[in-house]
Symmetry: C2
DNA sequence: TGTACATCAGTGAACGCGCGTTCACTGATGTAC
DNA sequence: TGTACATCAGTGAACGCGCGTTCACTGATGTAC
């Protein structure tokens, strides 16, 4: 049957958000179209009223994730303390244990690396994050800011990737805390 | 038909190596059992003479990859220069572009994080790498060695994950070089 | 050393299953008059 | 404002496909005598 026009746009977003969470939690091939539609409260049929293919959904979902997370630095003070808080929040147990609404790069980086289609969105996401880090937080000099920011980002992403894949909570926390501690101080004191 | 006994063990290893490369390049779900057997020069049938399931193959292949890569530090001098060379080799364009015989953590970390079965092997791999880095390379003090080593490892893994998923060679090299340069100097000078 | 036979890694057709995708159909909404 | 009809997001059965897995069969190897 026909549905109110307003609902359609809202459902489109609900699909994107269910997809974004599921993909970050289970990977692209770990989630079926039906599963996503079910999470949205629909059957799988109308999926193709919203998207041309699963690939198109992934592309749009990645952009949606990026839009929602690229400016996470904004919630933190523009100070050394703010930078430390940002790093700590990223390297928290909550973020480590809950990938569903967490970092795109740490959850899907390697899978995106294998799919040229998704790389442009990812690239814009990375450059977006880096430039926001550069602008918001203090760095040892303007000339070094970008280099220090991307070093910080690489360490953050690597720490989450390692901590999540490790079976040993103590080791996971050692990695998270060790890296956070190293980054909370300025990059090169 | 029956085959010489020596060939069987050798084929088992050939399967493991084909699988190890394919999984690092394409991910667990990006490679079929048939594809791996074809790469070994066989049909898919005898797969179950060697392994109980695809899952069992993955588990064994991960261990095989770890065995072959956990001691990569051994090829480098036990000096500041050796550490810099190790980091540079890891963050080289060759490693970035060729995941097939590269780092397990950067290629499969997030996928392993989703599969509890594979985490113990991964955990041993990580602890193995860290302790070899600690033992071989100079660190600012014995007490800080382990913390500095895992910070170095996290930055290395994160840099490769980001550089590989990015569409822009210039940005990829900026990440690889920027992180390598940061790690080549001692961790906290 | 020669012969007869059991072994078992190989072949390739076949299986069920879940996936992405398609489609005939439904019926409340929105629109034309 | 009321009625008649076109619209189109929904339903759910059905499709082909590739996957992991199974199995009856093959035939050179290794072994017993």
């Amino acid at each position: 049957m026909r549905y109110p026009a307003a609902e359609t746009a809202e459902k489109h977003i609900r699909i994107l958000e269910a997809a974004g969470s599921a993909y970050r939690e289970k990977g692209f091939s770990g989630v079926s179209v039906s599963e996503i539609m079910k999470a949205t409260g629909l059957t799988h049929g109308p999926f193709y009223n919203h998207f041309n293919s699963k690939e198109a959904l992934i592309a749009e979902a990645l952009q949606h994730i990026s839009d929602g997370t690229v400016n996470l630095t904004d919630g933190f003070e523009a100070s050394e303390q703010g930078k430390a808080d940002f790093v700590r929040a990223y390297l928290s147990e909550e973020h480590c244990n809950g990938s569903g609404n967490g970092c795109l790069m740490a959850s899907l980086g390697p899978e995106i690396a294998r799919e040229p289609t998704y790389k442009p969105t990812f690239t814009r996401h990375v450059t977006g994050i880096i430039s926001r880090m550069v602008e918001r937080f203090p760095w040892s000099s303007k000339a070094r800011a970008r280099k220090e920011a991307l070093r910080t980002l690489a360490a953050m992403v690597g720490a989450i990737v390692l901590a999540r894949a490790v079976d040993d909570d103590e080791l996971a926390n050692e990695i998270l805390d060790g890296v956070a501690e190293g980054l909370a101080k300025s990059d090169r004191p």
